[in-house]
Subunit: 466 residues, 4 copies
């Protein structure tokens, strides 16, 4: 027997929590006046607390790979937050917080930031939307104010923001490819903005971070824009260094488009396709005819079939001019980065010409229909106008609503219940549109992009208009 | 004849102006939303413009030695400002601005900052005091919010703020002495906060700046706190790098006391003595019995007589315990700095013990009478309670009002007119108080501290209470 | 047919080169005097060129995973460097350099640094070792001067240097484990120093880099110390941001030990075990009895058997006190980091007590035998004194020579030829030592740690001393 | 009697010393190897110590206004330095150092820097000039190496170095004017390089420092270049933040010219006129015909007569083309700065065209006669060739030697003794030259620029060549 041999074992901290931890803000919340602290504590008493708790718990799970928000909440059911006033300002007590957010008893710095970012955004939005707020600003103005308040503009590098969209659960080839694209973007010193979570939201950030380092670029930004409805299911990945919580999904989408200097779309399921249609709805609007924003659809060779399916659908419904709005690049990460780089010059020229801000694209016109939520009732779904007898842009908006409804029918409990009761949505339209739709949806089902595991039961029924 | 000899002459730019200059904000005003720019332009249309113009013109004269505000305004009568909206935010057009604010057509950086500081503070105060403002905060809360909004706290060094008070027109020995004190404070890396202008407001800053440099201290702060009523007569000296415009003189005085980690008072006239009484009124309040704030009264040997006169008056009216609240140091700049240094430790200990902020002294109690203006009518002056039959602190407040009235009678046109019509203020009080007052005022008159040039005609008449 | 569909393909740049690229130094070589440039160009003419070319080509392959140096050299056989003088200083022309070192025609920043680091170190060492050099300094002094000249000390963080040793080709579990250890070290803001290459030299760096970012630690250091004999086979991994080229393997090992504030050893083959014996030879020297340097042997559960084999051998030959010098931790990355953290305090205390530098451990005694190369001839190997009848430290040095010889017999062509001619090395020693050796070597062979692919033919024959 | 009144008095520290203070280097001397520390201590034992002591004592008097080096040395006669080795490197013990260099027992930071700058330069020059030094470099190469070693190039701003020459004892108008010129240069972000001391060496620095601050320019440089012979008489003024000690006066002058991007000359006595002739000797050399370096001669109105006298002399001896090489500006500080600014563009263009370094003007040709000292014996003075029958540049060199001799005759004890013994220098030359000389010297005498106090006894006698 060898008494030199170690008996140390790896103490699993799975499920472990830190009983009690006091933290102090370091952002502007560190400098609240005494009356402001009172107001904040009052607000958390008046209904804001559950939302704050949910979002704080999500960010305490930053860097943990999990898309099962429900499980996470169950695991840390005892977690709670207390707010204390202090002549120095605000103090938070975290009770039973996840141990993996701490190192030797101290919160990891970026998680500390995220916790106070949650508080910052939720309280600020509450204030902006209060009845006493000075004026009813436009949604765009509101988005601008939230981003500014989050100091997004203070820390941005010039014309460097590449927004990346794609699924949070993707095959390994596609994850690796998104990381390779991030690497090429990072070598060219671009920053990455995504929806905060794992998968194609993490790959580009991780690739870019390592590449920034190789280029001595120490102030790269990894901006995650999320909203309360999805943050629990998609906690920030470990690379995100700035997080903003928008009040709803429409403002989140608009925020992406306003801050982007280029948009890269990796393939995904119905949700990603909805985002692609959102973007086409904007680009097809006549006021945006000359927009310089580069939009690139890309993936590895293994994703070529689904990319081709996307394009066929777009061509058959919205026509070749809609296809022409997308740069399609297969299996060429450095070409993606070169296309973004080439586009940067055009974006700069256009911002200067239009006296528009570098940090926020005020000039882009976003139709009001895209700024208000679509409610996927059976009636609304049946009432969608899927005919070619309308401007292409209007059809694109209808199609975006259609995919929004399908996503809801696939994942949102309330809508699933309605479908259980009333049967699948009835979708009616022109024959060419319906047949293109049939082909695309079948392919998404076949590639398991509608549902990751198990058989997929469609939530829709397609019918030709008479 | 020598044709090598130069014909170049020094083109005087006295009276010169720059016809038109466009400037863009670099502080947070650089990032206004479109609706905010609209609001700002509306506000300047609604009565705020004259105040903005006056303050901007004052800061465009930064570094120019002049205490004749009226002459300055006359000289640049054509000066005007236009506000323009721009997708990028806000743009200002300065018409007929003083040429000495520019170098080769570009505004000097700190003057550029000051211009937008004016806008920042005037607009923000307007917003805070608007009827729609969320809640009626205390004056202290308001002061805190203005300072925070001006990012005073973001840029402060730890426990380093030495507030210096004294006259804006002082003899050369006293100016040089204030510079020597600044030098010793600067060698110890203290920052200086004053009322912005020349004289004893400039000397300590200049001394400290040069000393900071010798200590490799590159982020020293030279904070000027002013208010619209005096900024024209006391434009920022050339060392001030941060300027804050408080809405009125009481908030300005309170701001000094809340941000100070030590206060150094150089001798002056009735105004400086009013400030000294303001401070004693606070220190003598029982709630402030344990305050750790060091207060130092100092000057060169040539100023020893007036310092002695101050102290005699204080001893005879408020008693030796009031004198004990002042550290008196004559002709020893490094002793002043050592006393400030020694006090820093006590201030730190007290802030920690009281959980008070390092940047803002929330704990100090300021009596409500000191937060509201005293109106020096003949009736109010006659009604001052100058008897010893009251708490010392209460008497100190009455005396502070008395000197406030004398200052007004000396310099404010409206009050001077009232005295012209009704005769001097009648001041009645206990014999010991009146005789002490008589002695002090005579000395101030004799030393030409009541009026710099010409004979002084008293605005008061002292009477013993029957 | 769908004419929207992309025809872009991923242009492989494998084998591609950049025909000609001019680069200018940015380190101190940017500021050579005219006579120094002449000297440098003369030196490269006088025999230094092949060494420079080899090392520059290696660093141009930074981040490329390859341990086949010969293949790399064959692939870029046309690569050459020209030196040009210029009034501004020095200019390099790279001909036929690997395209993967460039982004859009510009060298990746860290590779640019590495190129000039090569030049810096090779030229400086030549100068230090020239006959005109002022004095014959000790090897330790020479190592110090090379590190200082490379500005290693200027950029170091306090007491943060964790040296990690281990194989460059390791199983995936061991690579992932080394990355997890790096992550835990990085979360505690430690820096990593390794031998520059892939495998267990890369894993800890990559883990730490991502973790530093999470802690807002933007100036982490990833120091690679290499030498001309191995740089081609182990080009710097993509995380290394500082590289130093020591003149030979003994100075490289000593450099590691002098700059380390802790040493973490991951399992490997005969080479790693040689390094472990090198360290024990030092630690067992009486002059180092109180050394505070933490040494941790660690690996994942899958590596527990080989760790146990190491320890058994050490116990049976050098005794339990040698084992006690190692902290052994299995499958517990955060425990490794905690042990390093705990050791940091002792290291600090000892440096202060001994008036030793934080950056360079002058006090540690390294026996002269470890500073001079061991030449593994058959005679030297046969002459090793493997008896217990000597101080433990002396035996450790003999054992280190033994493993050094085995490594050479396994991989160095000249030694392999000698073995082919004369048969395996004959190793003779005390029975307990020989049997311990037999057991350990058999396990290394069985785990394929002596040779990655194919059957291993031993280069040694063990014999009991009569 | 008033017992509140202070008894504190200003404890004069005049003559006070600090008994013993230990200081550690923070520059590269902080990182000496053990053998290097031994060498350094050996060197100080071998004759370098008196020079080091003298220069260190001078910099300990930084910021003290005194041009009486002898008095300073007498006052601190007990001052001594000890060197100690330490595993951490080098330690200095200062015994009986001037108290005014310390604040609360700690050396003022810039003085600390200066102390180790002295050591850095004196030891480095000793090494460069040792017999074992690798090669006999040109004086220019040596100057470059000394400046580089002092990190002058590392900290320089682009093309910003304005060298200012002028007397160390000047009338108040001229001092104020030099400060006003510095202010205008500083507002344009130029840096100042002078000879380190008071007067016209301090004014421009002080003006620029305050102006830099107004432009948020926090990394301005105030470089003083001195040499052991004058540092005691001209200790660094309090604004100098970088000091370099050249081995002799010729290398100091060459260093000024090589680092300058513009040269501003304020009026002075024979010494300043010698510098002006040095510069003209260079500019008149045919190889420098196209030099872009701006040279500006300037002063206030009160200095117009002496400027005119300079120009007349130059015109009458060297001709109008020599005058044309000077821009003459009277009483117009902002015109001086504008001229420097305008010249910056030409300097940049020329450096680029000639592939010359921005930081060091390698291309300028300096005749060998200017690189070697002139020894002002009676024979050499009598042998000066003051005829017009030679190239203008050659005459300029002769005239420069002449004024060098006059300066020595005025102030250097050894030369004064020779004159006492042998009578005044005999100066013979062409009638026009001699008469021009007579006129200029008379004016310098009349304006008390040859001797500050008392009557001036000429050290020369002018004779017409037969």
């Amino acid at each position: 027997m060898n008494d030199c041999f170690p008996t140390d074992t790896h103490a699993s901290i799975a499920g472990d929590t830190i009983a009690r931890a006091a933290i102090y803000p370091r952002n502007h919340l560190a400098k609240l006046s005494q009356s402001e602290v009172n107001t904040l504590i009052d607000q958390t008493d008046q209904g804001l607390y559950p939302l704050i708790r949910k979002c704080v718990l999500a960010v305490l799970n930053s860097g943990v790979n999990s898309d099962d928000g429900a499980a996470m909440f169950a695991r840390f059911a005892q977690f709670s937050i207390e707010f204390e006033r202090d002549p120095r300002g605000l103090k938070l007590i975290l009770n039973h917080a996840p141990a993996h957010a701490f190192v030797d008893g101290t919160l990891i710095e970026t998680i500390h930031d995220h916790v106070f970012a949650v508080l910052r955004d939720l309280v600020y939005v509450r204030r902006l939307q209060s009845p006493q707020a000075p004026n009813a600003d436009s949604p765009t103005d509101l988005i601008f104010q939230i981003l500014r308040h989050a100091q997004v503009f203070d820390r941005s590098n010039e014309l460097s923001c590449v927004v990346c969209w794609g699924g949070h659960a993707v095959p390994k080839e596609e994850y690796d490819y998104s990381q390779a694209v991030g690497r090429e973007l990072g070598l060219r010193r671009f920053d990455i903005c995504t929806g905060c979570g794992p998968g194609a939201m993490k790959g580009p950030m991780r690739g870019a971070l390592l590449a920034h380092r190789r280029q001595h670029h120490n102030h790269g930004r990894f901006l995650g824009i999320t909203e309360p409805g999805i943050i629990a299911a998609e906690p920030p990945n470990g690379v995100v260094n700035d997080i903003v919580i928008m009040p709803d999904i429409e403002k989140r989408l608009e925020a992406f488009v306003r801050v982007a200097h280029a948009i890269v779309i990796f393939p995904g399921g119905a949700g990603t396709f909805e985002e692609l249609l959102y973007l086409l709805s904007i680009r097809l609007h006549p006021k945006n005819a000359t927009s310089a924003l580069p939009v690139i659809l890309t993936g590895p060779t293994s994703a070529a079939p689904v990319i081709e399916a996307y394009l066929q659908f777009i061509e058959q419904t919205l026509g070749p001019e809609a296809c022409d709005m997308l740069s399609v690049i297969v299996d060429a990460p450095s070409d993606v980065a070169s296309a973004v780089q080439a586009g940067q010059g055009r974006v700069r020229a256009q911002r200067i010409e239009q006296h528009d801000a570098y940090d926020f694209n005020w000039t882009l016109h976003i139709p009001a229909e895209l700024q208000t939520p679509f409610d996927p009732t059976h009636a609304n779904m049946a009432g969608l106008n899927l005919s070619k007898d309308q401007p292409i842009g209007a059809l694109a908006i209808q199609l975006r609503c259609l995919f929004s409804g399908i996503v809801a029918g696939n994942v949102k409990p309330a809508i699933q219940a309605a479908i259980h009761a009333e049967g699948p949505f009835s979708i009616t339209g022109d024959p060419t549109i319906i047949s293109a739709l049939d082909r695309l949806l079948n392919q998404l089902v076949a590639e398991q992009r509608m549902k990751i595991q198990g058989d997929y039961e469609p939530c829709y029924r397609l019918t030709l208009a008479s």
